[in-house]
């Protein structure tokens, strides 16, 4: 899903060299090792959502709303899975002339069979397209599930049921297309080889160069702005985070917010959930390398150290400021670290990832304590404060830490087959494009969707339901019969 992989530099250059003299290009083959890793990563990302995210969120609400949160997360996974197969994959990962969304050429997974191939980041190293469909499906499923935390404990289930498919369709699929859709290394490599093959034939060369320009233009809006996002800092976290904030503002505060005791009903569940998130996140980040290569190992390393650093920085900062280190602080810090390292996972060096983690732990703590209270909105589970703020720090931090001079991996230029020169200013502008486009598209899109849902079914549970708890009133069940 990301694009510019340093590890394929040698391979790409070799391929260009080997085939420069002839115009006969080998058909890319499916690499079984990469395929095996992607099958594994896919189920790891599912584990993040169910039960990881569900338990993390569920433990943080009052016991009367436990099942409502579990249900909303589980429903989201099932609903988005179906949408993804029907048209989501096609809208996200088909090309053409659209910068903001794909087309319907692969709707109903048309033409995608067990023999179909999907590009990775190396020339001639493909994976099964169906495993790519499923891997990306799990990303599409977790992102709207993250939003649930912002309006937890007061949204009607019917409203959630309608909001989720609309949001996935109008916000997630387009943003994922904008950030991650590109023609792939094989297409670029073929175009580059064609230019070399043209030799001194001016007309053929001009045609080949036009073809290369066309291949490079076949990509999403944010991709073409040069923004890099390894595993979904913009697509997943900023996207869900801003949608959560908009939802919290539109639906309003929970009854008794700021007065009643709204303590988490089981931090034990939340700790289990956060830990499963961490485990599953290796599929998310190292899997986003699409190949079982050194790049995946780098993403794994960064996902270990950034997470640990952020958990420690949140915990120690809280200890210093509030006088006690809290379990909720440590696990919140870990999640913030995972969020921040997501876009940086395959680009930063490990020491850079530690710095990123240390920074994000403290900034998110500051945000969810001081700034959130100053602004007074009720984002129940801090989806904005952790995912959006952490995501922005990660997206901008990636622009800095990718610098090879800082131990970063650099950005691959597939046209030249080399790591591109790093330019701080240009990269930060690119990253800012990614952040701002996502904030605006998701912010505005989400607001419209909430309003539409409000008109059709009403967003908010009635006062009696909210007081009684959504488990009984929406689902006629209790989480705990003891």
């Amino acid at each position: 899903m990301t694009f510019k992989r340093p590890y394929s530099a040698g391979l790409a250059a070799l391929a260009v060299g080997l085939f420069a003299a002839t115009a006969a290009y080998a058909e890319p083959t499916i690499n079984k090792g990469d395929n095996a890793w992607m099958l594994t990563s896919t189920v790891l990302v599912l584990l993040m959502t169910i039960p990881g995210l569900a338990l993390f969120y569920g433990g943080l609400v009052r016991s009367k709303n436990m099942l409502s949160v579990l249900m909303q997360v589980f429903y989201t996974v099932c609903m988005v899975t179906i949408l993804w197969a029907l048209y989501g994959y096609s809208l996200t990962f088909t090309g053409g002339s659209y910068d903001f969304f794909g087309g319907f050429s692969k709707a109903f997974l048309m033409g995608v069979t067990a023999d179909s191939k999907a590009a990775t980041f190396s020339v001639d190293a493909n994976i099964s397209e169906l495993v790519y469909v499923c891997f990306q499906m799990t990303f599409a499923a977790i992102t709207p599930a993250l939003i649930v935390g912002a309006f937890a404990e007061r949204m009607k289930f019917a409203a959630v049921a309608l909001f989720i498919p609309l949001w996935a369709t109008l916000v997630y699929f387009p943003i994922a297309h904008m950030v991650w859709y590109w023609a792939g290394p094989d297409a670029i490599s073929d175009a580059v080889k064609a230019i070399a093959a043209a030799g001194s034939d001016a007309a053929a060369k001009a045609a080949a160069e036009a073809k290369l320009a066309e291949v490079n233009a076949d990509a999403g809006w944010i991709y073409k702005k040069g923004a890099i996002d390894f595993a979904g800092g913009t697509v997943v976290h900023i996207n869900a985070g801003i949608a959560g904030l908009v939802g919290a503002l539109i639906i309003g505060k929970r009854i008794g917010y700021g007065k009643d005791l709204m303590a988490p009903h089981s931090l034990t569940m939340s700790m289990i959930g956060a830990s499963l998130l961490w485990v599953g996140w290796f599929g998310f980040n190292a899997g986003s390398n699409l190949e079982a290569s050194g790049g995946a190992a780098l993403a794994m390393t960064n996902s270990f150290v950034a997470t640990a650093a952020a958990a420690l920085s949140w915990m120690f900062a809280e200890w210093i400021i509030k006088g006690h280190p809290s379990v909720l602080g440590a696990i919140s810090g870990a999640v913030a670290g995972l969020v921040a390292v997501t876009p940086a996972a395959g680009y930063s060096g490990p020491m850079g990832a530690i710095v990123l983690g240390l920074v994000v732990g403290v900034v998110c703590l500051f945000f969810v304590t001081v700034i959130k209270n100053a602004l007074g909105y009720d984002d129940s589970l801090d989806v904005f404060g952790v995912h959006c703020i952490g995501g922005i720090i990660g997206a901008l931090g990636t622009g800095i830490l990718v610098n090879p001079a800082l131990g970063g991996a650099g950005i691959m230029d597939y046209t030249t087959g080399k790591i591109a020169d790093y330019e701080f200013g240009a990269q930060m502008i690119s990253q800012t494009w990614g952040v701002c486009t996502t904030l605006v598209w998701s912010g505005v899109g989400s607001a419209i969707i909430y309003k539409v849902v409000d008109v059709i079914v009403g967003l908010r549970a009635n006062v009696e339901s909210e007081r009684e708890g959504l488990d009984i009133t929406e689902h006629t069940e209790r989480a705990y019969n003891m």
């Binding site: 709204m262 303590a263 909720l328 304590t369 959130k372 801090d382």
Partner: protein, 112 residues
């Protein structure tokens, strides 16, 4: 007959039970309760949310005894449950008009 009701610190329950058994009290009802007296509550912090929790968990024990046993019972509970710190709890004595053992139908003193 009297009911001696005591609110004690939860971790003192076993000591109180032992002390009551030692003076010949053979039955006891225990309830987990929350409340406050002179002991202050505590603060709970969950990210940015801080809650002053004033109701603390306590154990309420209720024991029915003959009137001449009341002083001994109070003394047993007091000595077992005392730590000397604020929050040790209180003892209330209430008149008991009538008692019946359900299994046998025995009444009053025979039922205790």
């Amino acid at each position: 007959m009297k009911i001696v009701m005591a609110i004690i610190k939860p971790f003192k329950l076993e000591e109180v039970r032992d002390a009551l058994t030692a003076i010949g009290v053979h039955g006891l009802t225990v309830t987990e309760v929350k409340g406050y007296g002179r002991q202050k509550g505590h603060t709970e912090i969950y990210r940015g949310a801080e809650y002053a929790v004033s109701f603390l968990p306590k154990i309420k024990i209720e024991v029915a005894v003959a009137s001449d046993q009341v002083d001994k019972t109070i003394e047993a509970i007091t000595s077992a449950a005392k730590t000397g710190q604020i929050g040790d709890g209180k003892i209330f004595v209430i008149n008991l008009d009538h008692a019946v053992r359900i299994r046998t139908g025995e009444a009053d003193a025979a039922a205790l």
